[in-house]
């Protein structure tokens, strides 16, 4: 009874043991399989020979999208007048064939109007006769004279370009005389660097500046006033005009330290 009982118990124990062993073997096999599988996947940036380092290779240039060719029909500060571009033909849609449009007798509604509307151009079209550049006013003229003074630069442009070429010396004298009379001490020292005011004035036959006005204020009253004072201080003028009765000159006063 007892042996049976023992045998019976041993049988039960053996079965449990084999079960446990099988479970462990299975687990071990699963672990090995997982480890093997994980090992085969490559990590990001991983290299076969030197693990742990990122490889970067030098290139001579970064391939960028190609630049658009320069626009030829814009007159940007160039001496010779390029031909005005031919105005582009208006992209009108072909008129609908009569049979395509449903014509309702009573309500000529939106659907009928829609194909006729021309979409407005995305950007302003170049005007055929203008010599002005379409982008930026300042680039249309090169300065005739640039004078550096303490805490400021006075840049002078003349609207009559041919006068500026022919009598460059005169404009230089104008620029020099104006900047000699520009007292930068008058400017509020808290003025941000780079602020500039553009003053426009006429020079009459005798060389006197007249009709002095601020074209572009700087936003700093003391800087604006110092530029006006510079022109008001000129008592004897710039000397007689070499030609003509009047020229108009713009002078830009830029504040810096």
């Amino acid at each position: 009874m007892s042996t049976y009982a023992i045998d019976d118990r041993e049988d039960k124990l053996r079965g449990g043991l084999f079960g446990a062993i099988a479970l462990h073997v299975l687990l071990a096999a699963a672990l090995v399989a997982v480890a093997l599988l994980r090992h085969t996947t490559q990590h990001w940036g991983e290299h076969s020979s030197e693990t742990g380092a990122i490889q970067a290779s030098m290139v001579s240039a970064i391939p960028l999208p190609q630049k658009a060719p320069p626009v030829d029909n814009s007159v940007l500060a160039s001496e010779d007048v390029s031909k005005a571009p031919t105005p582009p033909k208006e992209a009108t849609q072909p008129p609908p064939r009569p049979m395509d449009v449903l014509i309702k007798a009573k309500t000529p509604d939106k659907a009928a109007i829609k194909p006729n509307t021309v979409t407005p151009p995305k950007h302003p079209q170049p005007t055929p006769d203008s010599r002005k550049a379409t982008s930026g006013e300042a680039a249309t003229q090169l300065p005739q004279s640039i004078e550096d003074v303490t805490h400021g630069t006075a840049t002078l442009t003349v609207q009559n370009r041919t006068f500026g070429d022919r009598y460059a010396y005169y404009l230089e004298i104008v620029g020099r005389t104006v900047s000699q009379n520009w007292f930068t001490q008058e400017i509020d020292p808290r003025t941000p660097v780079g602020r500039s005011v553009t003053v426009t004035f006429d020079v009459d036959r005798d060389g006197m500046p007249t009709n002095v006005r601020i074209q572009t204020p700087s936003g700093v009253p003391s800087l604006d006033n110092s530029a006006l004072h510079a022109l008001q201080r000129i008592e004897n003028g710039f000397g007689p005009l070499p030609a003509g009765n009047q020229i108009t000159i713009s002078d830009t006063f830029e504040y810096h330290r």
């Binding site: 003074v149 070429d165 004298i173 900047s179 000699q180 008592e235 004897n236 000397g239 007689p240 070499p242």
Partner: protein
């Protein structure tokens, strides 16, 4: 262990490198600032020797010398020295090669050149001014002058050409090369009125009165000279007509009448008169009539000078507080302002633009006081002054040039009156040079 040590050393090195970089970038952020000038520079001008076209080279030499000295004394050019200019003498624009002049050592921006010669009994001068940097249109102006051939006309043409250059390039500055200076010449116990060119040339007598004439003042239109001279009634204001070459009427009055001054309109004369006992400033018309007194203080009031710009103010010297001081007032005698705070001030001249007073001042007057009598310029609005002459002896009688850039004055190195001579300088005190020898005093620069 070794690796970690190496690593630590390398980080140390990097830190050093970084701090070095930071230092250099800090340097780059605050660069050295070089301020070249507060204003703009002056034009570099070359005066070429003129080409003599088959004439007398003597005129050519005079012309070149006068032109050069005129341009130099104008004080507005950076004039290329004669030794640096190219040897070629271009006589006309076709012979001009701009590259020669723009290159070092001349490095000129402008060139004055031309030719002169005697053609058909006339001295003909062709003068040109070229802008060297404008190769397309170099010519600034061209002038032709024609005069009787003489040394003096060569001088006058050079003056006129120089004035033209100064007018064109000086930014509205009027040339003074044709102006005159009137002064007192001491000779044989008498003092006569003389005149000369602004550069001291061409000195000659104006009056021959055989008496003591003082303080000549030329009228604004250069037609008359007012001065004070000793006659049987004492010192009286006299009026000399340059057109007639003789004295014209000016009413005499009692007492000493001294130091006349022209109003800028030429219609009135201010002078000092002691006809009521005390020297006061009086104003009359140009023949001495309708005289009225505009100062009334005890103490001498002398040496008036009108504001040439407005004609509404008079500066003068007054001794109402003891030692003579500089004052200004309105032309009717109101609004008196004292300008100097001490010392001994004499002989004032009002600048043509009305902003400055030039005067002679002994700032520390008294026995054993340092310094001497020198020329000062005061800005009227701020009463700030600068001293123009230093240690050249006693200076007196300043007078402004019509362009307001020069001052003529009398100077005596040893302080003796008889050793006075006339000197000229730029209004900042530079370029001092004597115009006459000794025995000349009380200069007055003409108005134009």
């Amino acid at each position: 262990m070794m690796t970690s040590g190496f690593l630590r050393w390398r980080t140390g090195l990097t830190a050093v490198a970084f701090s070095f970089l930071a230092a250099t970038s800090a340097l780059a952020q605050s660069p050295f600032q070089i301020v070249t000038s507060s204003g703009a520079g002056s034009i570099r001008l070359a005066a070429a020797n003129f080409k003599a076209t088959g004439g007398d080279p003597a005129y050519q030499h005079t012309f070149d010398t006068v032109l050069f000295s005129d341009l130099e004394s104008a004080g507005i050019f950076d004039l290329v020295a004669k030794s640096l200019i190219p040897t070629a003498t271009p006589g006309s624009p076709s012979e001009m090669s701009l590259g020669q002049w723009s290159a070092a050592p001349a490095s000129a921006q402008m060139v004055a050149f031309g030719n002169l010669g005697v053609q058909g009994g006339r001295l003909v001068v062709n003068g040109f001014l070229d802008d060297v940097r404008n190769t397309q249109y170099p010519q600034v102006f061209a002038r032709q002058y024609s005069e009787e051939p003489s040394e003096d006309s060569a001088r006058q043409i050079a003056h006129r050409f120089a004035d033209e250059i100064i007018l064109r390039l000086g930014g509205g500055t009027l040339g003074i090369a044709e102006t005159k200076i009137f002064y007192v010449k001491l000779g044989g116990g008498n003092k006569e009125i003389w005149m000369m060119d602004y550069d001291g040339a061409n000195q000659h007598a104006v009056t021959h009165l055989g008496t003591i004439a003082l303080s000549p003042r030329i009228s604004p239109d250069n037609s008359r000279i007012a001065f004070s001279a000793l006659d049987k009634n004492g010192f009286q204001i006299k009026m000399w007509s340059m057109l007639l070459g003789r004295l014209v009427n000016f009413s005499s009055a009692g007492g000493a009448n001294l130091s006349p001054a022209w109003a800028p309109n030429g219609q009135q004369i201010a002078f000092s008169s002691s006809r009521t006992g005390d020297p006061e400033i009086w104003v009359s018309d140009t023949s001495g009539n309708i005289a009225h007194r505009i100062t009334s203080f005890v103490g001498p009031d002398v040496s008036p000078s009108w504001n040439p710009r407005t004609g509404a103010q008079i500066a003068w010297i007054s001794g109402r507080t003891g030692l003579p001081q500089l004052y200004i007032m309105d032309a009717d005698g109101s609004n008196v302002q004292r300008m100097t705070d001490g010392g001994y001030a004499t002989s004032v001249s009002w600048s043509p633009n009305g902003q400055f007073l030039a005067f002679a001042w002994d700032r520390k007057y008294g026995p054993g006081a340092p310094g001497g009598q020198d020329i000062y310029v005061m800005e009227i609005a701020t009463k700030r002054w600068i001293q123009l002459t230093h240690d050249i002896g006693r200076c007196d009688f300043p007078s402004w040039s019509p362009d307001g850039r020069h001052i003529v004055f009398s100077n005596s190195e040893d302080g003796h009156d008889s050793h006075d001579r006339i000197m000229s300088m730029l209004a900042d005190g530079t370029q001092q040079h004597a115009l006459t020898g000794t025995g000349a005093d009380m200069p007055n620069w003409s108005w134009k």
